[in-house]
Symmetry: C2
Subunit: 205 residues, 2 copies
DNA sequence: CTTGACGGCTAATTCGGATTAGCCTATAAT
DNA sequence: ATTATAGGCTAATCCGAATTAGCCGTCAAG
């Protein structure tokens, strides 16, 4: 059932692995378990499948941005969580974030697909930057800002501090996307990164 | 003349913009100013053009690695340069590095092409990681290590410190690759990044 | 019970893009 | 001077991949 959905799902998988141009309509059909011409009962053509994926992606992104802005503008809610934060908590926070982004199937496939298609047009470029640069810096900036206001971290420039926290995580993520066998290594580096981050920005100087 | 060379050059340009699969032999020929069939007097087929680009890339990478290891293992040479380093010098060092990587035509095209082809096979994946993760961390680690030994910076963990220096630069580079119009913004962030880096790791704590 | 939309299939069709065949000229080496 | 080679061109050819045509079974609504 819901072949329409399964098409999107399998197409996303394939696009994220080989890139749009290297995936044949036939490949998608095969994965779904139907013949290629049957695909056209569900989508006008190959491009329409891609577009549908992008549309859904955008919906989810907007949803996510919305959710975050709700939680984010209500400091009282989050502040509780970080009341007695310590280095180990910070490590866990970062590591969990990392593992989630790395392993969550949808997230991972979207990221890889956008990586391969980011130069196709301005919209995709903007989408990539928003999702993997602007949004994380904004959102994590709010979190770290909370930790600063809790006195757990110190910084005059929170945006740059956020960059220092996030950029290494992002880079390690891209390493694992292309070389999954380096995940353990990456996790090790992650932990050292966060501990050093905490030492640098932590109140115990 | 040297049509063989020009083919590689134009092909690299096109591959870096659209990705291998979206470039037609015809496009390359047109840019070179010949007809498509004439390409085959120079290269066996389209794949051979790609392979030749990769080969040259590898040669240059090896050359570069060789050069760096020569300079790098001779601390006396570099040490001089960093004898009276200050924050502004560090900013200039980082900014110049950034501008170079961003604007150098060959470097930029190679980086973008590898970005688009990195998931094709293990070799390309490894090549990307080596060039944009392992090598920079190694080389810049040596530089920063020198600054530590000069007493200009302090760190117990130089590799992680290097990650803190490089990861933001790398991330800003990828932003500019896909959105060149954000270069000024990126440069501004770069400078603040380096100044804060210097504050964090600098001897004046 | 019958009809129409839904979703699948096989067999074309189309078409674009890679590659090959075969020809031609210029030039450099014998 | 002759010839071989390099490198260009036009005109096929080939082929694979997207898409269309047209057929069929199912099933829910009338």
């Amino acid at each position: 059932m819901d072949t329409r959905r399964r098409i999107l799902d399998e197409a996303l998988t394939l696009f994220s692995e080989k890139g749009y141009a290297n995936v044949f309509v036939n490949d998608i059909a095969e994965k779904v378990g139907i013949k290629a011409p049957s695909l056209y009962k569900h989508y006008k053509n190959k491009q329409a499948i891609f577009d549908a994926i992008i549309d859904e992606m955008n919906h989810r992104f907007e949803q996510q941005a919305h959710d975050l802005s709700i939680n984010g503008t209500d400091p009282t809610a989050d502040a509780e969580v970080y009341k007695n934060m310590d280095e180990d908590h910070l490590v866990k926070l970062g590591t969990d974030l990392f593992i989630y982004y790395l392993h969550d199937s949808y997230t991972r496939r979207v990221r890889k697909m956008l990586t391969l298609e980011q130069f196709k047009d301005k919209d995709l470029a903007k989408m990539y930057s928003k999702q993997y640069f602007d949004m994380p810096l904004t959102y994590q900036g709010m979190l770290l800002g909370l930790l600063v206001s809790q006195g757990f971290l110190m910084a005059d420039d929170v945006p740059v501090m956020t960059l220092h926290f996030y950029a290494p995580i992002y880079m390690l993520l891209t390493v694992c996307d292309r070389q999954p066998e380096r995940e353990q290594e990456a996790l090790g580096i992650m932990e050292k990164h966060i501990r050093q981050f905490d030492k640098l920005y932590g109140r115990n100087f």
